[in-house]
């Protein structure tokens, strides 16, 4: 498990403690379902997804490949017609008034491919502002600001096809924001960016949420990005929501329960088997005259039970360290559990309801 101290710091520190949470719900998804085909050949991509997002929140939608992330996001955006369920953005029901929804929403779904490469950076911003119903002339000041923020001011009059991949990605995001929106959907926003560009983009996303109250919904496989930027994550698996919690809360739950234990001597097979079986011990390593292993426990008291097992077997305890997990550990654990322990429909509904 990686140490959280190695990770880049959140730009505004602990966002949840510095910002008063906005109460206005800007995106509400209720029992969203999408199936392809019919009868025995039917494939369910989204299976009763529900969540709400408030203004100025940054929410990560995570899930393994095939979990239904893209279909969920495209269904919310109307690019895929959902089989059932409802989506409301900024108080507008998507089923009743999709055009009304698009007055509030921008999306970057194709990364750097979102813009016209034969136009200049500024021409792209102007075109997409007009496409969104804005007056490109009136939005010039905003565009200048975006160009400055994304370090593109010097490239404003260059055609996009001459820019680097990272710059194209930034142009794409700037074009999404060019018309001014309440909610922005971003699919893999940092894909292909170098470390510096990725950090800049993360800072910009936080600033948009904190200073302009823009709601950001992003999907990414880069857990560092999600952990740095997001206030909350919605984890999908097999088209269902299996976790919907603040990042700090998700990581915090693990923080107090994961330990690295070092005991003297080599553990016998029987002791090792008992620890693995009863206490979810993993990563057992024998190091010369000592044994090291990681253990994730259901509650703090269980640590004493593990130490008791070692003591009974005649092993002295040399060291115990609390492990600080990152979001990737949480994600892997949550999705793994979802696959290992399929719940009944009722249990799943209860769990989802509880985490909202």
């Amino acid at each position: 498990m990686s140490q959280t101290t190695d990770r880049p710091q959140r730009v505004d520190g602990d966002a949840s403690s510095t910002r008063a949470p906005a109460a206005e719900t800007v995106l509400a998804v209720d029992d969203l379902r999408k199936s392809y085909g019919s009868g025995e050949d039917a494939v369910t991509a989204v299976d009763g997804v529900s969540f709400e997002i408030t203004r100025g929140e940054v929410v990560g939608v995570l899930g393994p490949n095939g979990a239904g992330k893209t279909t969920t996001i495209k269904s919310i955006l109307g690019l895929v017609v959902p089989s059932s369920g409802s989506v409301e953005i900024a108080g507008v029901d998507a089923d009743d008034d999709l055009r009304g929804v698009y007055q509030h929403v921008g999306a970057m779904l194709e990364g750097a491919r979102n813009t016209y490469w034969r136009l200049t950076v500024r021409e792209n911003l102007r075109f997409f502002a007009a496409l969104g119903g804005n007056d490109p002339g009136a939005a010039r000041e905003r565009h200048d600001r975006l160009l400055e923020q994304f370090d593109l001011a010097e490239k404003a009059d260059e055609t996009v096809n001459g820019l680097s991949r990272g710059q194209k990605q930034k142009v794409s995001l700037a074009a999404t924001l060019a018309r001014g929106t309440d909610v922005v959907f971003l699919d893999e926003p940092t894909l292909g960016l170098d470390v510096e560009a990725s950090l800049e983009l993360r800072r910009e996303l936080r600033r948009l949420a904190d200073e302009e109250a823009i709601t950001v919904v992003l999907s990414s496989h880069d857990m560092d990005v999600v952990e740095d930027v997001c206030d909350r994550v919605v984890i999908l698996s097999d088209g269902r929501v299996i976790a919907d919690d603040p990042v700090e809360e998700l990581v915090g739950v693990f923080d107090t329960q994961a330990y690295r234990v070092v005991a003297d001597g080599r553990l016998s097979d029987a002791v090792r088997a008992r620890l693995v079986r009863e206490y979810r011990v993993e990563n057992v390593e024998v190091l010369a005259d000592r044994t090291r292993f990681d253990v994730t426990l259901g509650d703090d008291d269980a640590l004493y039970d593990v130490l008791g097992v070692l003591d009974d077997a005649g092993h002295d305890l040399l060291d115990v360290d609390g492990l600080e997990p990152d979001l990737e550990d949480v994600f892997l654990d949550v999705t793994d559990r979802a696959h290992r322990e399929p719940e009944s429909e009722d249990q799943r509904d209860d769990a989802t309801e509880g985490s909202r």
Partner: protein, 271 residues
């Protein structure tokens, strides 16, 4: 509802905003024509080259036949080149937007996908008129046959004549959204348009209800015989308007159906 924190967030989806978007689309088209002159010249050159092959080649093989029918060839070729520009602007346009990754952006416009495509189509039709004027001038200069070009007659008749081609463009644009790789079908349609423009409406009156046929017939009459718009029989103009509106509406409905079909299947924007 939304909190406006920036004047640039003011969204106007009324006529003024729509006009602004039309201006932005026309500007984009113009910028690209000027910025890539080699592409622009080769596009225009190809149209002329095909005509030169047709005219000089035909004159070498059958000089009398070409000489007798040169006016028809000029008008027919003019309408064909304009129809191709208008039609392919939609069908190839959708394919290219899907390849570029911008199709979904166009769909998510608060103006609606249909109106956005209509704006793009109007810009394409205007472009086709631009090329048409240039092509006509060169064709008349090269052949030495100067036709009647009364703008009050030629422009509305040509616009109504091209409208069914736009309708066909909408159909194939919709099919491109749903099925993506249908470029071979696009090319076949170009030959189909030749047949429709050359349809013998005088011999087979029912053919006037086919796309482009009546428009081609009336444009020939207007430009070769100097007949003015108001001198045409009302019935002929009625058929022209009915076919223009009918095929355009049918094409637009098919486009709308196909985009919804594509969204149901989850393939909008895929390529």
């Amino acid at each position: 509802m939304s909190t406006t924190t920036d004047d640039a967030r003011d969204v106007d989806v009324g006529p003024r905003g729509f006009l602004r978007f039309f201006g932005a689309s026309a500007r984009k088209k113009l910028l690209l024509l000027v910025r890539y002159p080699v592409n622009t010249i080769s596009q225009f050159g190809t149209v002329l080259l095909v005509f030169f092959v047709l005219f000089f080649g035909g004159r070498a093989v059958a000089p009398t036949a070409i000489s007798d029918s040169i006016e028809g060839i000029i008008v027919g070729y003019l309408l064909w080149s304009m129809s191709i520009t208008a039609y392919s602007g939609l069908s190839w346009g959708v394919t290219r937007e899907a390849q570029w990754g911008t199709l979904e952006q166009l769909f998510m416009s608060p103006f609606g996908f249909g109106p956005v495509m209509v704006v793009k189509t109007v810009v394409n039709v205007l472009e086709s008129f631009l090329w048409g004027a240039g092509t006509l001038l060169v064709m008349m200069a090269v052949t030495g046959r100067w036709l009647a070009v009364d703008p009050f007659t030629v422009l509305p008749v040509a616009a109504l004549a091209v409208a069914p081609a736009v309708g066909i463009g909408f159909v194939f644009g919709g099919l491109a959204i749903r099925f993506k790789r249908i470029e071979n079908a696009f090319q076949l349609v170009q030959f189909l348009l030749v047949g429709l423009i050359a349809a013998p409406v005088a011999d087979y009156p029912l053919l006037k209800w086919a796309p482009l046929a009546q428009g081609s017939q009336l444009l020939q009459t207007a430009m070769t015989e100097g007949v003015r718009l108001w001198e045409f029989p009302a019935g002929d103009l009625g058929v022209l308007v009915a076919t223009a509106v009918g095929y355009l509406a049918l094409g637009y409905a098919a486009f709308h159906y196909c985009q919804r079909w594509a969204r149901r299947e989850g393939v909008m924007g895929h390529y």
